[in-house]
């Protein structure tokens, strides 16, 4: 799966808003926020096949440096 860019010129604004949402939270609170956010975004996507593909992609181990 290759995910093309859907954010266009709004990428930086949206990323910044995500960081801002986490500001001042403890790590546990941030985890909880992320969980709620993922569930809401899943509801936005809605298509089970699409969600299954995204889950599979997200499980691929990162080659983190």
């Amino acid at each position: 799966m290759i995910l093309q860019d859907n954010l266009g010129p709004n990428g930086d604004t949206i990323y910044n808003a995500l960081m801002h949402a986490h500001e001042g939270l403890t790590e546990a609170e941030s985890h909880a926020l992320n969980a709620r956010l993922v569930l809401m975004l899943i509801n936005e996507v809605a298509d089970p096949d699409r969600i299954a593909a995204l889950l599979q992609e997200a499980r691929r181990p990162a080659s983190s440096v």
Binding site: I2, L3, Q4, D5, N6, L7, G11, D12, Y15, N16, L18, M19, H22, E23, L25, E27, S30, E57, A62, S63, S64, V65
Partner: protein
């Protein structure tokens, strides 16, 4: 070879022996912005005195990345070709995560522009060339080195200025006082003006080294940026080429660093060797710095005007400091000249504040976002940042989120008071294209210009220079289509018309000069 810092001569100013007549403009600071300001004013026929407490160009390369728009302004000021000839041209930025290339961007993927996306040129060369250009205009520009401003008082209809020289002190009067003194602006401090914004805790080490062998794999220099490079664990690094085989290396050091200890040869040389290996190099200049993003609330305070870093500061990632400052001078020059000649009301200067305050806010927004991405300030920010870098190996959407600096672009002035109409090109700075044997930027800047494309010429309107191009080049057609574009002296489009109606053009010109009520 190291740059030869030749001091500029100090000449005892006339004010030491007898009072000088009031000057139209005094500019404080002979850096790139103050000098550009003086040249711009001179080209509009306005005399100025430039005062600087020093007598050499910038020590150290400092601002090195000069954007296409700045070069187009330099072209108008008579120094663009010289800067381009000396500078290192580049347009590709390459991003690495560890030692893997993850993404590259081309800042100017098309032909048909006089100037490239960027040149790298040390600030000392930029200042030298601007000083030499200013010296070609001795009737209009009075450069005074080792003249330190120690005080100023706004008297309502003029500004009284206290100046200190090696031979003693004197006073000057000016109709307008322009502060172009850099980030530490003594003028701003004397006036006790709030200068607020975001301070970043990270230290960065900036090093210039001279090397004969290029570290780049190809012949064309690029901007290389690493997240977590193998040679600098867990931090970020930036590499640029400058003229004279000098390379700029910028290393993130983290917040808990002793800047004095870091800026020493024994600490720096091993860091450079980790990057360049056995390649012989000479250490040319180094500096450890922190930065903040901040701006003045207002750039215009009656007869005192702020330009460049005196008015706003940004982080260096995105090259928005020096380039933003040149755009200040570009915006203010023609307006101040019009006010001084009586061609426009003094309130036109409010539009300088409106337009450049907007531009600098945009620069601050972009540069602080880049810095936030580079320097995650909590574990969760680091987690997301690393997730973006991981996903970027496979997914184009994530590559677009990697932020190592969004490089300087001129802001649009769309919707601001001087512009007329809703056409999307209105407010933008002109896009260059070939015109005859030359370029649009050579013909459409410096005076109000009506660019008419296609069969219809425009009627003559007083105060507007017509530029009718019946058979435009393919690039000009592609970028502008047909119609009539009113272009301000600073190269921003302030109105566009399908058909050339004298009344509409006259009204747009009046509005652009701040004459409309």
């Amino acid at each position: 070879m190291a740059y030869d810092y030749t001091p500029f001569p100090y000449v005892a100013p006339p004010g030491l022996t007898e009072p000088e007549a009031r000057h139209p403009v005094v500019i404080v600071g002979a850096g790139p912005i103050g000098l550009a300001m003086a040249i711009d004013l001179a080209q509009h026929g306005v005399r100025s005195v430039v005062l600087d407490d020093n007598n050499v160009v910038s020590v150290g390369s400092r601002a090195i990345c000069w954007a296409k728009r700045t070069l187009e302004i330099f072209d108008r000021l008579g120094v663009g070709d010289r800067m381009l000839a000396k500078g290192v041209t580049w347009k590709v930025g390459r991003l690495f995560h560890g030692d893997k290339p993850v993404y590259s961007f081309d800042l100017l993927p098309e032909e048909g522009h006089k100037y490239p996306a960027f040149i790298n040129l040390q600030q000392y060369y930029v200042e030298q060339y601007l000083v030499e250009r200013a010296q070609e205009l001795p009737e209009l520009i009075d450069l005074r080195f080792l003249n330190k401003v120690t005080g100023h008082t706004d008297k309502g209809d003029h500004v009284l200025i206290d100046v200190e020289t090696p031979d003693g002190t004197y006073q000057l009067e000016a109709d307008y006082y322009i502060a172009a003194e850099g980030a530490g602006s003594p003028t701003r401090k004397r006036m006790n003006l709030p200068f607020e914004g975001q301070t970043f805790e990270e230290h960065f080490l900036i090093v210039d080294v001279e090397m004969q062998k290029s570290p780049f794999e190809s012949d064309s220099p690029e901007r290389w940026f690493w997240f977590a490079p193998p040679f600098h664990h867990g931090q970020s690094a930036l590499l640029h080429k400058q003229p004279d085989n000098i390379y700029r290396i910028d290393l993130q050091l983290g917040p808990d660093t002793d800047p004095k200890a870091e800026a020493t040869e024994e600490k720096v040389i091993p860091r450079i060797k980790a990057i360049v290996g056995d390649t012989p190099f000479r250490l040319d200049w180094m500096s450890v710095y922190k930065f903040r993003c901040a701006k003045l609330d207002r750039f215009v305070h009656n007869r005192v005007l702020f330009v460049g870093d005196s008015a706003h500061v940004v982080s260096p990632f995105g090259a928005r400091g020096g380039n933003g400052g040149i755009q200040d001078a570009d915006n203010l020059g023609w307006k101040l000249a019009a006010v001084l000649s009586g061609d426009a009301p003094a309130t036109l200067l409010d539009s300088y504040n409106e337009e450049r305050s907007h531009g600098s806010a945009e620069n601050i927004l972009n540069s602080s976002r880049a810095t936030n991405f580079m320097t995650p300030k909590s574990p969760i920010e680091a987690l997301f940042r690393n997730a973006v870098l991981d996903l970027a190996e496979t997914h184009p959407f994530a590559r677009k989120l990697i932020n190592s600096g969004r490089l300087s672009q001129p802001c649009s002035l769309h919707g601001k008071a001087l512009q007329t109409g809703e056409h999307p090109m209105v407010g933008q700075s002109l896009i260059d294209a070939p015109v005859g044997d030359g370029w649009l930027v050579e013909q459409a800047q410096g005076a109000f210009t009506l660019l008419s494309l296609g069969a219809d010429a425009a009627p003559d309107v007083e105060g507007i220079r017509p530029l009718h191009i019946a058979e435009p080049s393919p690039e000009l057609s592609r970028r502008y289509g047909t119609g009539h574009y009113l272009i301000r002296p600073d190269g921003h489009i302030c109105a566009r018309f399908d058909s050339a109606d004298r009344e509409h053009i006259t009204a747009a010109l009046a509005r652009a000069k701040g004459q409309a009520r």
